[in-house]
Symmetry: C2
Subunit: 224 residues, 2 copies
C-alpha cells in the first residue's frame, strides 16, 4: 500500500472526478485491495489535495459498488465474495443478452463495419501477448455492441457491471488457451448480427458470458 498513487492532472476536470478516476483505477488494478481502508486524511495527503474532493469521490465509489462506508467509521474497498460475483454475472448475462438482441434490430451497416474491425482487432491483440491490450480489445468489442443497442442506460449499467469484475477479468484473460474460444465466440456473435438472427446471437452471447463465469469462478476458488 506504500506505492504512491499519483493524479493524472492533464484533464481539466473537477478534482473530485480526477480523484474518483484515480481511486477507481487503483481499486480495479488491485493496488487498493478489498477490505483496505480508505482514510480521507491519508488519501488527501497522498494525492496532494484536500479532504473535500476525496470525500466526494468516495461517495461516488460507494454508489458504483467499489467502496462501502460505515457511518463514523469511514470507507473501505468493497469485498467481493464468490456469491457476489455470481450475482453480478447473472445480471450481466441477462443484460448482455438483451443488448445483443436490441443490437440485432438496430445495428446500422456502419456499426457492423466497426464491429467487424473490433473482432479483427481482438484477434490481433491476442497475438501480441499483451494482456492489457487484449482486455482493451475485448472491451471495445462489447462496447460496439452496447452502442448499437441504442440504450444509453443499458450501456451504463453494463459498463458498471463489467467494472465490478475487472480485477478478475484481467486474470482471466491471462489464460491464453482460452483465446481461440473467445475469438470463435466473437465471430459467431458478429455473424449472427450480420444475419440479424436474434436467436443465434442471444445464444452465442449467453454462452460467451457463461464461459467467462466458469473460468472466473474457478479463479476465485483457487485464490483461496
Amino acid at each position: 500500500m506504500t506505492e504512491k498513487l499519483t493524479l493524472n492532472m492533464n484533464a481539466y476536470l473537477p478534482l473530485r472526478d480526477v480523484v474518483f478516476n484515480t481511486l477507481r483505477e487503483a481499486i480495479l488494478k488491485g493496488e487498493l485491495k478489498p477490505g483496505e481502508r480508505l482514510m480521507e486524511l491519508q488519501l488527501a495527503a497522498r494525492l496532494g489535495v484536500s479532504r473535500t474532493p476525496i470525500r466526494e469521490a468516495i461517495r461516488m465509489l460507494e454508489l458504483e459498488g467499489l467502496a462501502v462506508t460505515v457511518p463514523r467509521k469511514g470507507a473501505q474497498v468493497a469485498k467481493m465474495t464468490e456469491k457476489d460475483m455470481e450475482d453480478v454475472l447473472q445480471i450481466r448475462q441477462t443484460l448482455d443478452e438483451l443488448a445483443v438482441k436490441l443490437a440485432c434490430d438496430k445495428i446500422t451497416e456502419q456499426q457492423l463495419r466497426l464491429l467487424k474491425g473490433a473482432v479483427r482487432d481482438f484477434e490481433e491483440s491476442t497475438r501480441s501477448r499483451d494482456v492489457k491490450k487484449v482486455a482493451q480489445a475485448d472491451v471495445a468489442f462489447h462496447d460496439a455492441i452496447y452502442r448499437a443497442a441504442d440504450n444509453p442506460k443499458l450501456m451504463n449499467l453494463l459498463n458498471n457491471l463489467r467494472e465490478q469484475m475487472y480485477r478478475y477479468r484481467v486474470e482471466y484473460l491471462k489464460d491464453e488457451t482460452a483465446y481461440p474460444t473467445l475469438i470463435a465466440e466473437h465471430r459467431e456473435i458478429y455473424e449472427g448480427l450480420v444475419r440479424r438472427d436474434k436467436e443465434t446471437v442471444a445464444a452465442a452471447m449467453v454462452k460467451h458470458v457463461m464461459n467467462q463465469e466458469i473460468v472466473v469462478k474457478n479463479m476465485i476458488r483457487e485464490q483461496e
Copy 2:
C-alpha cells in the same frame, strides 16, 4: 418551488444521508421538477445545513440518475424523455423477468406465504382508493419477489429502476380501471410461483411490466 423542504432529523444518520433522502423524495414526488437547478447555497439555507452535506448528497443523486451536474455549472434535476423511459422500462422488464425466474427456483414456503399476503394486501389497498397505499402495496409485492430471488445486487438495481419512474408510476396508479388487471396479474404471478412454473411466471411478469409501459408512455405523451 417556494414550498419549504424540511429535514426529517429523527434518524441518527449523517446529514448527507438525510439530505439525500429528502432531496430524492422531493424529486420523486415532483416537488423538485425536472430541469430545476439544485443550487447548493440555496438548498443549504433552505434545509438549515452547510454546503458540504448538500454537495455529497448531490453526488449521490447524480449516480442514482436523479440529478445531472455540469462541472462549474452545477446540478439540476434529471429530465426524462419518452426515450429514456422506454430504455428504463426495457431494462426493468428484462430484469424483472430474471428476478421472477430466479424466485421460481429459490422461493421458500415462508416467502410464498408472505407473497400471498402481499397479493391480498394489494387487493385490499385498491379498495381504499388511496393511491399512496396502492403504490406501497405494489412495491411490497415486487419486493417480496426480489427478496426471494436472493440476489441483492439485482434487488438494488430493480429498486433503483423503479425509483427512476416513480413520478409516472404514481400517476399511473390513479387510473382505477387498471386495478382489476393488476390484481389478476399479481395472482397469476403468485400462482405460477406456487407451481414453480418458470415459463408461466416469466410470461406473466413480462405482460405485467409491459402493461405498465403502455400506460406510462401514454401518460407522458398526454403531458405534452
